[in-house]
Each structure stands twice: as C-alpha cells, then as structure tokens.
C-alpha cells in the first residue's frame, strides 16, 4: 500500500508500470486518474487545492485499508496532488490490483467515492471573474450509500 500526497506532478504511465511490476500473480490492475477540466465557458485559470497535512495521509491510509479489508486485493496506490493546477493537469490517481477483475474494479470505484467526500481536500476555481470554492455535491455524499 502506498499513499503519496504531493505538490509535484506525477507520471501516470511510470506509476502504473511500477505498480504493476510490484504485483505477484494478480490477474487484474485498475487505475483511475482525475484530470482538471475547464469550466463550461472555458475560462478556468487555475484550480487551487488545499489539504490538511497530517490528516490527509491518515484519511487516505484508512480508506485504502477499508478497501483492502473489503475486497481480495493485492495492492493499493493513491497519489493526490495539492497546490495550483491548471486545466489538463492530473489531480490524482488510484491503482488497485486483485486476482480477479470484479474486486479490482469495485475497490477502485470505492476508493474514488471515499476520496471525494472523506479525504480533507478542498478545491477552489480561479477565473478572471474571481475565485470560488467548489461545493461538495449531494450526489457525491449519496454515492457512499452504495457501499452500505
């Protein structure tokens, strides 16, 4: 299990290759990568991500352990950036490995749902008209109910 919280960009391809090479007899690897989207009007200057150093690592570790307890997994990787990002920048990624595909898929989906609403990150959108904190979506909170 690896958790990285960092300001620097990460190399998605390098990370997934290294993750996969570390696995032993896992039949399935799933990755999810989140990327900064521009706003509808195409005027996002930056997305600023704030986090809670200390708690962030603990919360991500707990989410990863919950996934490992729940599904038959080989390994979990979570990388999440903070700081100032611009459209097309990668924000975060997760990777899961498992003997069978359903476990790898469900665990990655679960990690994303919990990352959205239970990891202490906050996003601010900066445009030429000002800056606004992104509001948590009801749907993201509701998505947690899927996992009982």
């Amino acid at each position: 299990m690896r958790i990285k919280v960092q300001k620097a960009p990460f190399d998605l391809g390098g990370e997934v290759n290294a993750f996969t090479a570390r696995q032993n007899n896992m039949g399935a690897v799933v990755t999810f990568t989140g990327i900064v989207r521009d706003l509808e009007a195409g005027r996002l200057e930056a997305m600023e991500i704030e986090h809670y150093p200390g708690m962030t690592e603990k919360a991500l570790g707990q989410i990863a352990r919950d996934a490992t307890d729940r599904w038959s997994l080989g390994d979990v990787l979570i990388i999440h950036r903070f700081g100032r990002l611009t459209p097309q920048d990668m924000i975060m990624m997760v990777a899961t490995s498992a003997p069978h595909r359903a476990d790898a898929f469900q665990a990655a989906d679960f990690l994303m749902d919990y990352l959205k609403s239970r990891a202490p990150f906050w996003k601010k959108e900066v445009t030429d008209a000002g800056a606004d904190w992104v509001e948590a979506r009801q749907a993201d909170e509701a998505a947690l109910d899927r996992w009982g």
Binding site: Y52, L115, S117, R118, W122, W133, E135, A136
Partner: protein, 81 residues
Amino acid sequence: MDVLYFAWVRERIGEPREHVETGARTVRELVEELRGREDRYAAAFADLDALRVAVDQELADFDAPLKNVREVAFFPPMTGG
C-alpha cells in the same frame, strides 16, 4: 489546544490556525465560545450544517468531547478526487 481552519472557514477567520485556551468540554461548546469572540467567528460558524469537524485529525461530530485533545479543525465538506 490548536484550532485549525481550512478553505472558506480559514478565509472568514483570517488565519489558518491559532492556539486556544479553553474550558470547553465539547466541540459545540468550543464553537459557542469562539462565536462570542468576534464577528469573523460568528460569520464562519453561522451555519454548522455547512461545516465539518476533525478532532485530532479524525472526522468527528460537534458533540465530540475535547478532553486530552490537542487539535481541532473546522472546514467545509471535502471535495477531493
């Protein structure tokens, strides 16, 4: 204890953290005490439904006890991922 603020809570309070000496027994009592201090606290804590709290870096609720607690943090619902 240390009290930390994030996102718009930090912006309304005007600082990211401060040291608070308090006799508050729960998070809710701490909030009441802070609200009474200055307008900026009253503004930040106007709607508790819009806030989340962590006690010693674990999510908690407003009735959580503060005995032996070193760090309390207030922030809006999280938007990771």
